[in-house]
């Protein structure tokens, strides 16, 4: 765990690059610091491994104040990947990766064994690449070696400073995916700096949007998209971003929150009355008697009521019982898939306790998008 506490970096006693910054990064989390150039994101990152010393404030790693540790010792236990890769041109790939463990006087044979594993991990076959020099590798391959080098000493924390920015878009995407795969496997604590909000949204477990040396918002990607704290964050993220990332939209975002419940033993007349009163065309039939009160039993839409004249008919007789419950955190793509596959008109959304908190209908889905897209033309 990394904790920054009231960290400030000032140059020439006046320019605050980073101001009173508090940030907590949990173990195994991939946190992205994102912002325009000069927002202090790189400075913040470099203060973690003390490449830059904070003017004031404290940084704790697993509870230990980094000031109490020797700087070089600290850095040897924190992986570091930079935009320009910075491989040592005079050393072979193998020795580039082995540099830090060998500095730490680890057993040479074990280190070389680990280098082998690491090359496999970043998809560069050992026999083919170990003895080459950096200049014989493409940019993407070099950065893979950069990542392997950062992992060499098996650090808990890895700092990445715009590691993929200098690569072409296809290679960049490839390396992003590989980083995510690696992270699934290794569960390192990663601090990733980028100016690219798309990249941040794609790879971050949490994102800290920075401007003027401060963190404006520190949230999960979907929360940054859905609830930007201020105009800056909103414009930085881009208000149309949700469109491009349907995975970020959850069932709870696209449902209609109007849930009108009706007891299973109520009559059709009562149902019609409720629909009129609440101006809705669908009712959620629940179990009003124990053992589990308000348990979802089925759904009744207007079609089910049509032509029913017998007033003794109860809801449980005409309701659609085999409804597919949608968990509230399911994403839009999955919801649409289920609805299409099962030809469902009404999808009740349930929370962790199985309580119905909303209903997804075609109308509710369309409403979400009309909310997002501003009206630009009048007819």
């Amino acid at each position: 765990m990394i904790r920054l506490q009231k960290v400030t970096k000032t140059y020439d006693q006046k320019i605050n690059v980073v101001k009173d910054l508090d940030l907590q990064i949990e173990k195994g989390e991939l946190v992205v610091l994102v912002g325009e150039s000069g927002c202090g994101k790189t400075t913040t990152m470099k203060m973690i491994n003390r490449l830059i010393e904070p003017t004031s404030g404290d940084i704790f790693i697993d509870g230990q104040n980094t000031k109490t540790v020797d700087g070089n010792e600290l850095r040897r236990n924190i992986g570091y990947v930079i935009q320009n890769v910075g491989l040592f041109p005079h050393l072979t790939i193998e020795h580039n990766i082995a540099t830090v463990p060998l500095l730490c006087k680890k057993n040479r044979d074990e280190v070389m064994e680990r280098v082998k594993d690491l090359l496999d991990l970043v998809d560069l076959p050992h026999e083919q690449y170990a003895h080459r020099f950096p200049r014989e590798l493409s940019g993407g391959q070099q950065q893979r070696v950069g990542v392997a080098r950062a992992l060499a000493n098996d650090p808990d924390i890895i700092l990445m400073d715009e590691p993929f920015s200098a690569l072409d878009p296809i290679t960049r995407e490839q390396l992003q995916n590989e980083l995510l795969k690696l992270q699934d496997e290794l569960q390192k604590t990663i601090v990733f700096v980028t100016h690219d909000i798309d990249e941040a949204l794609k790879i971050g477990d949490r994102i800290a949007v920075m401007a003027g040396g401060k963190i404006l918002q520190y949230d999960k990607p979907e929360d940054i998209l859905k609830n930007p704290h201020n105009d800056f964050v909103e414009s930085f993220v881009g208000s149309d971003r949700l469109w491009k990332t349907p995975d970020m939209l959850r069932a709870e975002d696209i449902m209609s929150k109007k849930v009108v419940e009706i007891g299973a033993r109520r009559s059709v007349a009562h149902a019609i009355e409720l629909m009129k009163e609440h101006n809705t065309d669908v009712l959620v039939v629940v179990d009003k008697v124990s053992p589990r009160p308000n348990k979802l039993l089925g759904i009744v839409g207007t079609n089910r009521l049509k032509g029913v004249t017998d007033h003794s008919v109860k809801m449980e007789d005409i309701m659609k019982a085999d409804v597919v419950e949608i968990p509230h955190h399911m994403n839009l793509t999955e919801v649409l898939g289920i609805r299409k596959e099962k030809k469902i008109r009404y999808s009740p959304v349930v929370d962790e306790d199985g309580k119905v908190i909303g209903i997804i209908t075609n109308t509710s889905i369309i409403n979400v998008f009309t909310d997002i897209v501003p009206e630009t033309e009048e007819y």
């Binding site: 490449l51 850095r75 930079i82 890769v85 910075g86 491989l87 830090v100 500095l103 950096p134």
Partner: protein, 215 residues
């Protein structure tokens, strides 16, 4: 034919003088390396310091060799000492300059990566900067050696011996074979030294580095 005859007849003298010559130039360049390479390293971080040092070295370079030899005499007497003193002053400029250029040419990203990995200042110097700059530094040493061997001939003027002695004596005795033999062997010595240092340079330079031509 007479030149060859002279060389054959006097090869012992020539070998002896060539030996003196090598010692003279060799010691001069070694001392210059011992002073120049660390100086080059020390001044890399300061533009002002490097300007001052380079300017002083430049001034040494502009003083005629004979004058430096002469200046050395009151301090160090006659013989090899003032000659070596002069050679050192001459050799300093190319060595300091190339060390400076070599270190400054190291990609800053590489240094940043090295710092970020937790390498100490001296580790960065010996494991990164020196290996990367070595071919440029060696280029400076080669220039210093070749010019040093040339200048060492003048050392004979103040009693330092070497192949220059053949030239000066030859002029005095109007023995042109002697003059030419002295000149040819000092040239050959320079070429040989450059060749050997060239081999040393490529041995010291990693295959991972594309060799840059240096002046």
């Amino acid at each position: 034919m007479t030149l060859i005859q002279y060389i054959v007849d006097n090869y012992q003298l020539i070998v002896q003088k060539a030996g003196q010559h090598i010692v003279l130039a060799g010691i001069g360049v070694l001392i210059a390396c011992a002073i120049g390479i660390p100086t080059g390293f020390l001044i890399t971080n300061s533009r002002r310091a490097s300007n001052i040092v380079i300017n002083i070295a430049n001034i040494f370079q502009t003083i005629p060799a004979l004058a430096i030899f002469a200046f050395g005499i009151p301090l160090l007497g006659i013989g090899t000492k003032p000659a070596i003193f002069a050679l050192v002053l001459y050799a300093l400029l190319p060595i300091i300059k190339n060390t400076l250029i070599g270190i400054n040419n190291v990609d800053p990203a590489i240094i940043e990566a090295a710092r970020g990995m937790g390498m100490s200042k001296s580790q960065i110097m010996f494991k990164v900067e020196v290996p990367l700059a070595i071919s440029v530094i060696m280029g400076g040493v080669r220039i210093a050696t070749v010019t040093g061997i040339g200048i060492a001939t003048i050392g004979a003027f103040i009693g330092a011996g070497g192949l220059g002695q053949l030239i000066f004596q030859g002029v005095g005795m109007v023995n042109y074979n002697m003059v030419v033999a002295g000149a040819i062997f000092s040239s050959l010595l320079a070429l040989l030294a450059d060749f050997i240092l060239g081999i040393l340079e490529s041995k010291l330079t990693s295959k991972g580095i594309i060799k840059r031509e240096t002046i």
